[in-house]
């Protein structure tokens, strides 16, 4: 393990794969597909090996690589993972092959499609492991570009508008983020997340802001808030938080199903990851000043998106809003730990519960939402692209296995105990209630609304008399069943044995909670 730098190697695997697919698979789309799968599974294997080598009790960064790069600019190549990073790597490595499997309807420019997917994966791996702003930002943007082309070239009817909106929206956020970090760099001379977090904890960040912006009439506190807002914007768009979310339903609905799975399964987690890795440790003091507002923003995200989901007729748009709703719980958990609790150990435990819940929720939502969009893809394949709530009816009669398997994913999304999402949501509510009782109580409304729209889907699509138009629809084929089995089994496993994830995230959470005591 000391011979090769495992994390750099991991990031290189999908990049090499992207090149290989483009060159070797140029002529033969079947070859391109096979190669893409091979590299995706290779990446998964590398991540699993990392997981195996990972010390779950250490809490801190592991597999760190530090190389000087541009010393004059504070830029060094610094990568490493802790429990959070490992969790996100696992999620990305799992969702990418799923998304590839769901892309069977892609017939045009197949090599390019799969090569872009692998490039996106490389961007994700880079984002989740980079610890210096400079190359972290490169990867952050690198993942955006393939996503743009994937939507733009293979999307639905309105793909052009959706792709442009997605790109520009995210770009605005990224620019704000970039400016904020440039300002930080000008004041502190640091680009390294860990260094910046340490400065923030010791209070030096604020004093260097004061000296850095001494010429202007702004106070250091105001500058801090401004920079915090810039960084916040970058992540809030990505998650997204209401009202920075309007790109999402269009992008999710117009993107081909495989790409939607990547968007919801992994790219939305980049935003949450940013909050946890960057915003919380560096801008903790600033965020705390606006804690109440942020909490209610999270509640608004949860409730409004759930209501908006209730009003949709397109399955993809329903799941898109549902995705916003589920990540709203993550945001609620993150904002609740902003509460100043001093050294009160009992509330420290609640923070640990909430953050563990957030971690679990990130993984669980990625898995479940990606699976749900996969089912939509399978449905579209059978219906020739139709996916309206009212286009079907009584499908359970002709496709009972389809209904049963999708039912498992739907109930996972609903938060049924015994399946994965319940545990994360319970831990979030358990942790946030003592820290922010009213926002937590109001946001349970989201659970009710989720139940309503999920059961409405089951009612309209699968129950009732069979719509004669679909009398000939065929059930899931054996290969589809086999492909879908792993994520569904994982849902059960994580629902019954969440310690599988918490076992390696908890020590990281504890370290974060300790860090957030200033």
């Amino acid at each position: 393990m000391n011979l090769l730098p495992p994390i750099s190697l991991l990031t290189v695997v999908p990049l090499v794969g992207a090149l290989a697919v483009l060159t070797l698979g140029r002529r033969d789309s079947r070859m391109a597909r096979t190669l893409a799968f091979a590299f995706a599974f290779l990446a998964l294997a590398v991540v699993v090996v990392l997981w195996h080598w990972f010390n779950p009790t250490a809490g801190g960064l592991q597999f760190e690589e530090v190389h000087a790069w541009i010393p004059a600019l504070g830029v060094e190549y610094h990568v490493g993972i802790d429990g959070l990073g490992l969790l996100m790597l696992l999620l990305s490595a799992i969702v990418v092959p799923m998304a590839m499997a769901a892309s069977s309807r892609i017939v045009e420019r197949v090599p390019l499609y799969f090569s872009l997917m692998l490039m996106l994966e490389a961007g994700l791996f880079g984002t989740f492991t980079a610890l210096n702003f400079f190359h972290w930002f490169l990867f952050w943007e690198l993942s955006l570009i393939p996503a743009f082309f994937l939507i733009r070239l293979w999307g639905g009817v309105q793909r052009a508008a959706a792709a442009t909106q997605f790109f520009i929206y995210t770009m605005v956020g990224s620019v704000a983020l970039l400016l904020a970090f440039l300002a930080l760099f000008l004041c502190t001379g640091k680009f390294d997340f860990m260094d910046l977090a340490t400065l923030a904890q010791s209070g030096q960040l604020l004093s260097s802001l004061a000296s850095g912006f001494a010429l202007h009439s702004l106070t250091a506190g105001k500058v801090g808030l401004l920079l915090c807002f810039g960084a916040f914007l970058g992540f809030a768009v990505k998650v997204p938080l209401i009202p920075f979310h309007t790109w999402l339903p269009n992008a999710y609905a117009e993107a081909p199903a495989g790409v939607t799975m990547l968007l919801t399964g992994t790219m939305s987690k980049m935003g949450v990851y940013g909050f946890l890795r960057i915003l919380l440790p560096i801008f903790y003091a600033q965020l705390r000043e606006v804690r109440t507002g942020l909490l209610w923003l999270a509640v608004a995200t949860i409730v409004l998106s759930a209501y908006a989901a209730l009003a949709q007729k397109d399955l993809k748009r329903i799941f898109a809003y549902s995705s916003i709703n589920h990540l709203g719980y993550c945001m609620l958990g993150i904002f609740s730990v902003l509460k100043w609790t001093g050294d009160n150990p009992a509330l420290g435990v609640e923070k640990a519960a909430a953050l563990n819940g957030v971690f679990l929720q990130m993984f669980n939502h990625g898995l479940t939402a990606a699976t749900l969009f996969w089912f939509v893809a399978l449905l579209e394949k059978r219906s020739g692209g139709l996916r309206g709530l009212d286009d079907f009816g009584g499908l359970r009669k002709v496709a009972p296995v389809f209904c049963g398997m999708m039912g498992i994913a739907l109930f996972s999304s609903l938060g049924l105990p015994g399946l994965n999402e319940f545990v994360g949501e319970f831990l979030i509510f358990k942790g946030t209630f003592p820290l922010a009782s009213w926002p937590t109580s109001v946001s349970t409304l989201g659970l009710l609304l989720t139940a309503i729209f999920i059961l409405t889907i089951l009612q309209r699509v699968f129950s009732g008399p069979l719509n004669s138009k679909w009398a000939g629809m065929h059930d899931l084929t054996l290969s589809e069943r086999i492909a879908l089995a792993p994520p569904l089994v994982l849902m059960f496993v994580l629902g019954v044995y969440p310690q599988l994830v918490l076992g390696f995230t908890n020590s990281t959470v504890m370290q974060l909670v300790r860090h957030l005591r200033f």
Partner: protein
């Protein structure tokens, strides 16, 4: 620790395994599914008997517990566990016995269904979750099983998914109960944060044990209520949803869209009683108060009032229903109200005793109703039945026993358990109203059950008369096969005799739950208020039966379309009852409408406000870029062009000078020289 305590988890896990295996089985492996379900259920029953015997022998009041670690956050572990105490043992016996009866019955009832295998899968899953709920030693584990029984209830109500009514009823059931569950969830996380654990019992450190309870009762919320009261009320809201208490009762009658064995097992005997069981389980929390010796805590008063109101409200509606199962459904709601009332005024033993007796006689009634429906070829309207006592003798006899037990006919099981509730209510210190409500409910119960039995079993068959309405070829009703009548007979025995375990003379049930040996003495009857209450309730029952018989029995309805006797007497009141006090309509006009409206508002906000802001921003940017472009074209470009023009024309002008002819250069040179000389001269002169 005894073997049975350590292996108590097997009781729910065995049916869960059966459910898992059946889920993977092919649709046509019917025999496999039924055998597996009944086999595992029998094993669970056997283990339950072992557990019961263990508790019976042990006689210890402190629960025997096994806790295990589930997940870790921070430096603490969230632990789950199971427990065995008298309450658990009694519930285990009841649930596994009734489940087994219903499983056997279903083999006959569902014999012609295409999804027979799936049905047994769901039933086994239900039994697993319900048994898990009973043995849970953690509010969280209980909640998880609670949600799972809700899921199986949803799946089984919507079992005939091709019927739109069934699909809608399933959804309504899940969502209505989930409203209560949200309150339950909030109460649970509140309890967790206050007590630091969700284990009920943990050698003195559980949340239902002394120190935690005192801590909860001593703290007050911002509105001045004790924290324990707030938590208890929230948890009770969950119980209200599951147990169909007013105003969350609307889902239970609709749940009758499911197959009748499901109604018997889930929506009469076990799952709907889970709310009552929950209140009994957290009774220490419900009844704890800080110091002051008051007769009932706020939480228990809420339980009492909700229970009493539900008991009468549902009984009134039951009077005017025509669907054989819906009458029983409203009766179930009403009886669940009695159980809550019993818990509120008399404590765990009183409420639980009625839960147990009710489970047997109500599942008997439902299975009897199923037998009737089966015999009448899926007819459920009591107006189209009649005269079945001759055609279905076993069903009639067992149904009669169940009906008398439900009415509280003397010496039948319901008599003893209902009487204990009324006796406790009559001695309640806060108010006598719950007692009067309970007594009035008893009258109504006897009345509507007599009405139903008269319609179904007495008079002449009205089935043939309705054939012209297109119900297919005339078929005479027939008795059900023995696989269905055998469970009926067994349940009838329980409905008849079970009450003897809790008579005032031998209050074995009460003693068993409190862990003391029971003693037999007729002096129990002479205690304060026992005999008067017993006599008055007997009078009430006979009055109900008498009025019912007088109105419906000796003058049976001539045909299926004849108006009800009550309808001719009081058309408006009857209409109000038949339409269930318009509660569904009220909810439709308020909550559901508000919800739809708010969904539209959210969508509108999304499209026009948030989306509009983005639209405006993008158009401002577009406008700016247009402005920049037009500045480019008209100002910058024009200016640049003109500048170029000026330069080039200037150049052209100057280029005339640079024409390359030496003479003109010399001419210019000469002229300039002359000018210079003139200038120097002029300046020199001055």
């Amino acid at each position: 620790m005894a073997w049975i305590v350590r292996h108590l988890w097997l009781i729910p896990v065995l049916p869960a395994l059966a459910a898992g295996l059946t889920a993977l089985a092919k649709q046509r492996s019917r025999r496999f599914a039924a055998t597996l379900a009944i086999g595992t259920m029998s094993l669970s029953l056997l283990l339950s008997v072992c557990a019961f015997v263990h508790v019976l022998r042990g006689g210890s009041t402190s629960p025997e517990i096994v806790n295990f670690r589930w997940l870790q956050y921070g430096d603490t572990w969230l632990r789950l566990g199971w427990m065995l105490n008298p309450l658990t043992a009694v519930m285990l016996m009841m649930v596994s016995l009734v489940s087994l009866m219903v499983f056997v019955y279903s083999v006959g009832y569902m014999a012609h269904d295409n999804n027979f295998t799936r049905f047994f899968c769901f039933l086994s899953l239900f039994a697993a979750a319900m048994l898990g709920l009973v043995i849970a030693n953690s509010l969280l584990l209980l909640f998880m099983c609670w949600e799972l029984v809700g899921l199986t209830s949803y799946l089984l109500i919507g079992f005939w998914y091709h019927k739109p009514a069934a699909a809608a009823a399933a959804k309504k059931a899940f969502i209505t109960t989930r409203i209560g569950d949200l309150a339950f969830l909030i109460g649970m996380v509140w309890l967790y944060s206050q007590a630091g654990t969700l284990l009920f019992y943990n050698h003195g450190a559980g949340c239902m044990e002394g120190s935690a309870l005192l801590h909860l009762a001593a703290q007050t919320t911002s509105v001045g209520m004790a924290v324990s009261t707030g938590i208890a009320l929230l948890i009770f809201a969950g119980a209200m949803g599951k147990s169909g208490q007013v105003p969350l009762h609307v889902w239970l009658p609709d749940a009758m869209e499911g197959p009748t064995p499901v109604s018997a097992l889930i929506h009469a005997a076990t799952m709907v009683a889970a709310g009552v069981f929950l209140v009994a389980r957290v009774f220490p929390l419900m009844s704890v108060h800080a110091g002051l010796a008051i007769s009932a805590t706020t939480a228990l008063q809420a339980v009492t009032w909700i229970g009493a109101i539900t008991a009468v409200f549902a009984a009134l509606i039951a009077v005017a229903q025509d669907d054989i199962k819906r009458i029983l459904a409203y009766s179930t709601i009403s009886q669940l109200g009695y159980m809550m009332l019993g818990l509120g005024v008399g404590g765990v033993a009183v409420g639980m005793f009625h839960l147990i007796t009710h489970a047997f006689f109500k599942s008997l009634l439902f299975l009897g109703a199923g037998s009737v429906i089966h015999g009448c070829h899926e007819e459920q309207d009591i107006r189209r039945m009649g005269g079945l006592r001759k055609l279905m003798p076993i069903t009639f006899a067992t149904y009669g026993i169940g009906m008398l037990a439900l009415c509280g006919f003397p010496l039948f099981s319901g008599f003893w358990s209902k009487d204990a509730i009324l006796h406790a209510a009559s001695g309640w210190g806060i108010s006598r109203t719950p007692f009067y409500l309970g007594a009035f409910g008893a009258l109504l119960t006897a009345f509507y059950m007599t009405r139903q039995v008269c319609y179904v079993f007495f008079g002449e068959s009205r089935l043939a008369a309705s054939e012209h309405q297109g119900h297919g070829a005339p078929q005479t009703p027939h008795e059900s096969p023995s696989v269905m009548t055998a469970p009926l007979t067994l349940l009838a025995v329980f409905a008849l005799l079970l009450g003897l375990l809790g008579t005032p003379a031998w209050p074995w049930f009460d003693a068993f739950l409190s862990g003391v040996p029971a003693s037999f003495s007729f002096a129990g009857f002479l205690e304060h208020g026992v005999l008067p209450v017993m006599l008055s309730s007997t009078v009430i029952v006979f009055a109900g039966l008498g009025v019912g018989w007088w109105l419906y029995g000796h003058r049976p309805a001539p045909n299926a379309d004849a108006p009800d006797v009550l309808e001719t007497m009081q058309p408006q009141a009857f209409h109000l009852l038949r339409r269930k006090f318009f509660v569904d309509e009220l909810y439709q006009a308020t909550f559901i409408r508000w919800n739809t409206w708010f969904a539209r508002v959210s969508n509108w906000l999304d499209r026009w406000i948030w989306g509009g802001a983005v639209w405006i921003t993008s158009h401002v940017v577009l406008g700016l870029s247009w402005l920049a472009r037009s500045t480019d074209t008209h100002v910058v470009n024009t200016g640049f062009d003109e500048g170029c023009q000026t330069v080039s024309s200037g150049g052209r002008l100057l280029s005339r000078v640079q024409n390359g002819s030496a003479q003109s250069y010399l001419r210019l040179l000469g002229a300039a020289f002359a000018l210079l000389v003139l200038f120097l001269l002029w300046s020199g002169v001055r």
